[in-house]
Each structure stands twice: as C-alpha cells, then as structure tokens.
C-alpha cells in the first residue's frame, strides 16, 4: 500500500525564520506535487517536480525531489505571516488512460507568528 508521510504535522514558527517540511513516500514515482490549502478553501498548486534532483523556487518557498530516497522537501525562507496555511505533498500513481491519481500526505499545518 502506498503511503505518503509528511513531517512535521504542525509547525509553529516565527516570522523571519527558516524551516523545512519533509515528505516521504513508499513507492516509485517520478512526479510529486506540492499544494497549499487555506482554511475553508480549496487546494492551490504550488510546485510540480518531475524528475530526480528537480528543484523549484517561488518566492520564499523552494521544493526539491530525490526519487532515489523517495523524499521531497519544501523549504521556507524568512517566513512571513501570509505563508500560514496547510501544505500537502502528493505523489501520482498512473491510472489507465495515461493519467494519474494523487495520493496525498496528511498535510503540515504551518502557523507563522509575528
């Protein structure tokens, strides 16, 4: 059974600090997604990581993928309050029709304190 585990599940951090969220998964996959979810809102796509060693950055967030270790990280640099949200990683599993379904981690609730 495919498992996708994130840690920590909850992260309280001060503005200006750096931190990393980890996403481990239990089966082979070449694609990993990071999504953001604000309370009561839907999921917003942040990053698509397509290959081993992929690194993408957007603002204060940087995501990386190591397919050999089955590990992705989401690094937060100099956190600001606006980054407070729940972050999900998701691994894709190929379905028939050459598309994919997503297996999500349990999420990391990030609270950035002033």
């Amino acid at each position: 059974e495919l498992k996708v585990e994130q840690n920590p599940l909850f992260l309280s951090m001060q503005e200006g600090k750096n931190y990393t969220i980890y996403c481990n998964y239990s089966t082979t996959s070449d694609r990993l997604y990071w999504y953001r979810q604000d309370p009561g809102k839907s999921l917003e796509s942040l990053f698509v990581l397509l290959s081993n060693g992929a690194v993408k950055q957007e603002g204060r967030l940087m995501a990386s993928l190591d397919t050999k270790a089955r590990l992705s990280t989401l690094h937060i640099t100099a956190a600001v309050h606006d980054l407070s949200a729940t972050y999900f990683c998701a691994v894709d599993i190929e379905l028939s029709g050459a598309t994919n379904k997503l297996i999500f981690g349990t999420g990391t609730l990030l609270a950035v304190q002033p």
Partner: protein, 117 residues
C-alpha cells in the same frame, strides 16, 4: 480564466437522504477527479473520468456512491442513503494531460462540505 466550480458549497443532509454534488471542470479539460477530504486529513481519491468514460472508481467507499459525467464536461457525485461517516469535503479536480512544466497538474474546485446529521 474560470477555474473549477462546485455546487452547492455547503450541504446539510439528514441521515438516509440522497444528495447530489455538482462539478464544472475547467473548459476543455479531459480528465476529471473526485476526492473526499475528511477533517484534518489529506484528500483521498474516489473516482476518475476521461471525457465521459469512468475509467477508475476504485476509491468509492461503497455502492451508495456513484458518479457520472454523461457529456464529458459537468460531473455529478451522488450519495444515496447518506450516513454520518459520509460527512466530509468533496473536492473535484480537472486536468488536461500535457507534458512540460505543468505535467498533469490537477486544478481543484472549492469543494462541497457535506454534513450528515
């Protein structure tokens, strides 16, 4: 452009009632997915359509759940004889199979929050 829309946004049902949840995907998106998100959890896959064909329904929790997409655009998720354990947010996502930077990215709607009393 317009994103994925879902209606209703909130639904309260009495145990045993039938409910129907609607999803309007992004225009032109071939693939459509339904996910169930319980409180404090990540979304879990329910079913997938490619155009009007339901190619995978392995995540549907029971035969009380079924989904359709008769014309390959709008989809409806129907839950019969609702139970309390059906309470969750039901998310719809669509995608356009493609290569490159946004490979197969799924775009999610706002969800329908179902509460079964």
């Amino acid at each position: 452009g317009a994103g994925v829309s879902q209606s209703p946004r909130y639904k309260v049902a009495k145990r045993g009632q039938d409910v129907a949840l609607r999803c309007d995907p992004i225009s032109g998106h071939v693939s459509l997915f339904w996910y169930q998100q319980a409180l404090g959890q990540g979304p879990e896959f329910l079913t997938y359509f490619q155009n009007e064909a339901q190619l995978d329904k392995s995540g549907l929790p029971s035969d009380r759940f079924f989904a359709e997409r008769p014309e390959g655009s709008v989809s409806t998720l129907k839950i019969q004889r609702t139970q309390q354990e059906d309470s969750a947010v039901y998310l719809c996502a669509s995608s356009l199979p493609e290569t490159g930077e946004n490979s197969d990215t799924q775009y999610f709607g706002p969800g329908t929050r179902l509460t079964v009393l």
